[in-house]
Amino acid sequence: MFDDKPYEFGVLGAIKGMLTLYDKQTNSRWSQLFGRAIEGPMEGHQLERLPSTMTTWEQWRQLHPQTTVYVKPKAYYRRFATDHFEYIAQAASGPVQVDDLVLGLEGHAQARAYLLRRLAQQRLVQDTFEDAPILVYLSADLSTVRVFNREVEGQTLQFALTEDENLRDQETSSLWHPVTGESIQGPHKGKKLTGLIARYAVWFAWHSYRPDTHIHGE
């Protein structure tokens, strides 16, 4: 989640498990998940959310060879444990836990959460969100999630995952890149699916943000 602002933000800490920020200019408190000031002179102010892609370095570099990189001194570098990936890959069954990782989609009237560990089983889910046909894609290494609108030039497409990790639509057999959403082969070549902003959150945090959330599949 990226936000655009003329203020400078720092971390205040965690309050009831929610990451809380402050700004240097007014010392207001901000909810990181909500992107909104919850206390202080800026209370109620909403930051603009900008699209971003969570993926592996290899994938990002392929998509943007000229990319720059934010770095800290090596001492600050901490790699992720494999535990969480294993949990997501293997713990498919069982009810939703407070700390389960979800992918959150929010619209005006609807909010939906996809449990990552259930998403990890199928990796491609197609359904409807706020009257738009969508697909949710999770990469094989569990690093990358994308959400796209399945409508192309007025036609709703049905997709399947190919063996080499592309999307293929049933209507024209065109191949589509699952991360960029661009068609790389077939009648639709060159066209691009519209991406939707979806965010990772821990279930309790997302639920507090959008209490009207429905969990996909429940």
């Binding site: 990451l19 720059t68 934010y70 600050y76 992720f80 700390d99």
Partner: protein, 119 residues
């Protein structure tokens, strides 16, 4: 096939909009959750929903970030990054550099726009 990092390291907190602060404390104790599905009996994330801990005055601001080219950056292929493109300018924010209370939000500028990537 999952990517294996092959390292034992700080417990995970790799979801972007969450309390890395609290999790870094508790997950390093590696206690498994109470309830599990019957098939799976391994590590599971802990309930952080009651955790509160703030620093008086807040943590120092993360400003004037160091930015390198793709080749200078020396990242591993499977490093998770948060990528953004603004006004044609692309930048990757490696999640591995955004752990810990001081580093979860960055004050940066990309494509002429002041942005706050946060994890």
């Amino acid at each position: 096939m999952m990517t294996q990092t092959g390292l034992t390291d700080i417990r995970p907190l790799w979801w972007p909009t969450l309390v890395a602060f609290g999790a870094a404390f508790s997950l390093s104790c590696a206690v498994s959750a109470d309830e599990q599905s019957e098939e799976y009996d391994g590590w599971a994330p802990q309930d952080m929903s009651q955790f509160t801990r703030t620093k008086e005055g807040g943590f120092p601001l993360n400003v004037d970030p160091k930015i390198l080219s793709a080749t200078e950056a020396d990242l591993a292929e499977d490093d998770l990054v948060m990528g953004a493109v603004i006004n044609g300018e692309a930048r990757a924010y490696p999640v591995n550099y955004m752990n810990g209370p001081m580093h979860e939000v960055v004050n940066d500028e990309l494509g002429g726009l002041p942005i706050a990537p946060t994890w």
